[in-house]
């Protein structure tokens, strides 16, 4: 009952925030016109005030792809944050904190810098998907590396994991810095984008490129929820029930890094969503992954859409990097988790 209410509230909230995101911006477009422009594509108008000029362009070509990208990236970061926390059995395992996002962005930076030299044949083969694919590979390598580094006697050790994350973030930062010395100014600018994160480059092309990379994990990961629940008790519990823990682990890592990698490839590193969202979800409705995973996707989409709206509207006419907004929202929660865990240890 309670969960139905949560699902309904979040869905309505997401719809509302999508509407606001489409209706608000530097261009003042009356809400009637926004609705008509949208319904026009389906062949009817309600208020008869649709505009075929620049307003329609702004709604259909700028705001709509951007909002959809926010929804997709938010859902991706939310659900993969929850899944990765499940597999690490730790609420602090967040894609950007343990270096997975950094792995994705480092790979993307390397591809940008050395594309003409090393990746030209690959680039012809994969075209626009090369960056997304590369980011996915980078994220996957780092996820496996961190997991194996942090494992002590088959248990993922928290402090080792976080320290490994620090090391990998520092290393990725250093390598990115090194690459910037080799890159020319134009490449430098796209490299800065990877480090900052932004939804400003959203076009229908990259939204449709992102779509499968997010939809497959969002649909697939909840099927692994039962396995993740057993993981919470211990890896041997999974075996007892007759499931293969390694298979679950690999599936989760592949699906989660697929979503994170592709998101980083289109929007750069957007931190703290993967940490904040699953935690809020657990606060709302408990730790059952059958609940946490889908709700994290929903809430991630909602929160990132709101964060993007803040970043667009707060310092007009320019934009605040979205990473600033998510970090401002995320760090207090992060500290809250730390303090709560500390109290638990004391008791």
């Amino acid at each position: 009952m309670k969960r139905t209410v949560i699902y309904t509230c979040l869905s309505v909230g997401l719809l509302l925030s999508i509407c606001f995101s489409l209706g608000l911006g530097a261009m003042r477009i009356p809400i009637k016109e926004v609705i008509d422009t949208l319904t026009q594509t389906m062949g009817f108008t309600i208020f008869g005030s649709a505009d075929s000029g620049i307003n329609e362009g702004v709604i259909m070509m700028i705001r709509l792809p951007r909002t959809l990208m926010g929804v997709l990236v938010g859902a991706a970061l939310g659900i993969s944050g929850a899944a990765i926390q499940g597999i690490f059995r730790n609420p602090l395992a967040e894609p950007s904190l343990v270096g997975i996002s950094a792995g994705a962005s480092l790979m993307a930076v390397l591809i940008i810098a050395f594309e003409t030299l090393l990746f030209s044949s690959l680039s012809q083969l994969l075209g626009y998907y090369l960056l997304a694919f590369g980011a996915f590979v980078g994220a996957g390598i780092i996820a496996m590396l961190v997991y194996n580094l942090s494992k002590i006697n088959g248990q993922a050790n928290v402090s080792t994991m976080l320290l490994a994350g620090i090391a990998i973030n520092a290393m990725a930062g250093a390598l990115t810095g090194l690459v910037t010395y080799l890159a020319d100014e134009q490449k430098l600018r796209s490299i800065t984008f990877w480090m900052m994160g932004s939804l400003g480059g959203a076009t229908w092309q990259n939204v449709s490129c992102l779509f499968p990379f997010v939809i497959i994990p969002v649909i697939g990961l909840p099927f692994l929820a039962k396995g993740l629940n057993l993981f919470a008790i211990g890896e041997n519990q999974v075996e007892l029930i007759g499931l293969n823990p390694n298979r679950i682990k690999i599936l989760v890592v592949v699906l989660a890094t697929m979503a994170v990698g592709a998101s980083v490839a289109v929007s750069g590193i957007i931190g703290f969503i993967g940490l904040l969202i699953p935690h809020l979800t657990r606060l709302l409705g408990g730790v059952d992954h059958r609940f946490v995973l889908p709700v994290s996707a929903l809430m991630g989409a909602l929160v990132l859409t709101l964060a993007d709206m803040v970043s667009r509207l707060i310092v007009q006419p320019i934009e605040l990097p979205i990473g600033v907004v998510t970090a401002l929202m995320g760090t207090p929660i992060f500290l809250y988790i730390l303090i709560k865990d500390k109290k638990k240890l004391v008791n």
Partner: protein, 280 residues
């Protein structure tokens, strides 16, 4: 490979947009660099500029305009909100996605390439004039600028030997870069009768104390805001290593207006003259 293709497409797009629209003059223009804003203004279209970027600070009537781009960070929608019919942007400042977004909105974007030479300056003026749709005035201004440059160059002060000039781009003590070969400043120093103290690398690279001592410049050149970001002249002379250079010994630290030095358009003669006066 892809970057190359992108360049070619860019060139083709800017070529077409420059030629295709000659008939219709641009009425609502957004200019996204100081040199572009100053050139459009000099062409007599200053009143058609709706908004600029943060570097467009002169003349005063341009400085008063809203700034919609800050260090190449901007929002498509804020720019679109001015309903421009022409956006003039330095080559490379808009990403492929941005160009695509403006194209799908039906807003004409012309990317302007800047070459740091006398020819580059007149080409820059002609390109902008063609984009606005007033080639005649572009020709006029280009010719005037060229003859002014020639007069200026013939009247330059000449020393016994050309001084070694080191340019430092500073944004506070932690972020200092020096200008290497092929940079705008390198070209400017040469035109003004000096010699760039850095010959080992191209573009801008981070500053180090040892490289400063090794290059031993006769003059150190900075943008005005650069010198003040380091705490002014006295604070700069106290930086490690500065006192070992000729420039430090003779206290020859020069500050100049940034937009003027990198204008490389209608104000090039003025810039050459000013820099020549200061270094010789």
């Amino acid at each position: 490979m892809r970057i190359k293709k992108y360049y070619i497409v860019l060139i083709i797009i800017s070529f077409f947009s420059a030629t295709q629209y000659v008939a219709a003059q641009a009425k609502r223009i957004i200019t996204l660099s100081s040199a572009i804003s100053e050139t459009v203004n000099a062409l007599g279209y200053g009143k058609n500029i709706l908004a600029t970027d943060v570097t467009s600070v002169s003349p005063e009537e341009i400085n008063r305009l809203p700034k919609v781009s800050r260090n190449r960070s901007f929002s498509i929608e804020s720019i679109t909100a001015y309903r421009p019919d022409l956006i003039l942007v330095p080559e490379g400042d808009f990403s492929k996605e941005n160009l695509y977004q403006f194209k799908s909105l039906g807003i004409r974007v012309v990317t302007i390439r800047q070459e740091f030479s006398v020819q580059g300056a007149t080409k820059f003026i002609r390109h902008i004039a063609a984009a606005i749709g007033d080639k005649a005035r572009g020709e006029q201004l280009a010719q005037k600028t060229e003859s002014n440059i020639n007069t200026t160059l013939s009247q330059l002060k000449k020393g016994s030997k050309s001084p070694k000039v080191l340019f430092i781009y500073a944004r506070g003590v932690g972020t200092m870069n020096v200008a290497g070969k092929g940079s705008s400043i390198d070209a400017m120093i040469k035109l003004a009768g000096g010699k760039n103290a850095i010959q080992e690398f191209s573009d801008f690279k981070p500053y180090t104390t040892e490289a400063l001592i090794k290059s031993n410049p006769d003059v150190i050149l900075m943008f005005d805001f650069g010198l003040s970001s380091l705490g002014g002249r006295a604070a700069f002379l106290d930086l490690p290593g500065v006192s070992y250079t000729n420039a430090g010994k003779n206290k020859r630290i020069i500050e100049m207006n940034g937009p003027l030095l990198i204008n490389f358009s209608n104000r090039l003669p003025e810039a050459i003259k000013a820099l020549n006066n200061r270094i010789l």
